[in-house]
Assembly symmetry: C2
Homo-oligomer: 162 residues x 2
């Protein structure tokens, strides 16, 4: 799309640089938090848990669409997660073709554990931010997050809101 970035008087390069820098640190944090449960779930499996946690119980087709995989792949991944007791597979009485995939308590616990780890690592980092600048950081990041949300064209996160 290559839009001329001249819209901004003060060029955005340094801004992008600083965001990218912070981004690497945050991705590393996320990856490490995920690695902590790596012997329980794989990354694709964790994506399933996150989608179910974020969007609630789903049929198989919407889930597969959210993950961007084929139905057969979704079926088998859910099978593994059911076997591990992290996902519950029920067939509603109304339409017995459908399947309702939902997180079990254990499944929610896995997501909660990863999130807690992530928050912990983030807290350790922000503890190193000078207290008098923290309010500023909150403001700036909120502005950034909001901008990210608005810039959400369509399926922005595309099932990657880890």
């Amino acid at each position: 799309m290559l839009v001329a970035p001249r819209s901004t008087p003060l060029d955005v390069e340094p801004l992008v640089d600083s965001v990218l820098h912070a981004s690497r640190a945050l991705v590393a944090v996320a990856a490490r938090s995920l690695a902590a449960v790596a012997d329980e779930v794989t990354l694709p499996q964790y994506r399933v848990l996150v989608v179910l946690a974020a969007r609630g119980p789903q049929g198989l087709a919407p889930l597969a669409a959210a993950l961007g995989v084929s139905p057969s792949t979704a079926t088998r991944m859910c099978g593994r997660l059911v076997r591990k007791g992290l996902v519950q597979r029920r067939t509603p009485s109304r339409d017995r073709r459908q399947v309702r995939l939902a997180l079990t308590e254990a499944g929610r616990a896995v997501v909660a554990q990863v999130t807690a780890l992530r928050r912990g690592e983030i807290a350790r980092i922000v503890a190193a931010v000078p207290p008098e600048r923290r309010a500023q950081v909150v403001d700036a990041l909120s502005a950034f997050a909001e901008a990210a949300g608005e810039s959400a064209d369509r399926d922005w996160t595309a099932g990657w809101e880890l």
Copy 2:
């Protein structure tokens, strides 16, 4: 767990919240940028490329250690990357036991492409930040990135500096 958050003067909860929020957006951006080359390299393979890009040509053992995998796994992954023309495998004349793994031009291009995509998406987001707040965002994120760097115990990123 319900720990009283009064330990910190200005309690860090909102700070952690805002960072976590921004973090999700940034992880999604990184994931999408990676997905763009998913038909060329897998995530583990991309990690190899990134390690080689960041630390320069490596022997097999250090590379495997950086990735946290066994030597045999590293051998085969590099084999696949060599087959794809993204990594170069040479044996120096001095010690012919060793192997020098290095990125090829194409390998560097893959990393550059992902980085460029990421920067592009980030730029699109920051373009949505009100101009008068951008300087503030730079300051805040720099402070955060710096704090993350200092909090880097030892193998902080653990080969996950994607």
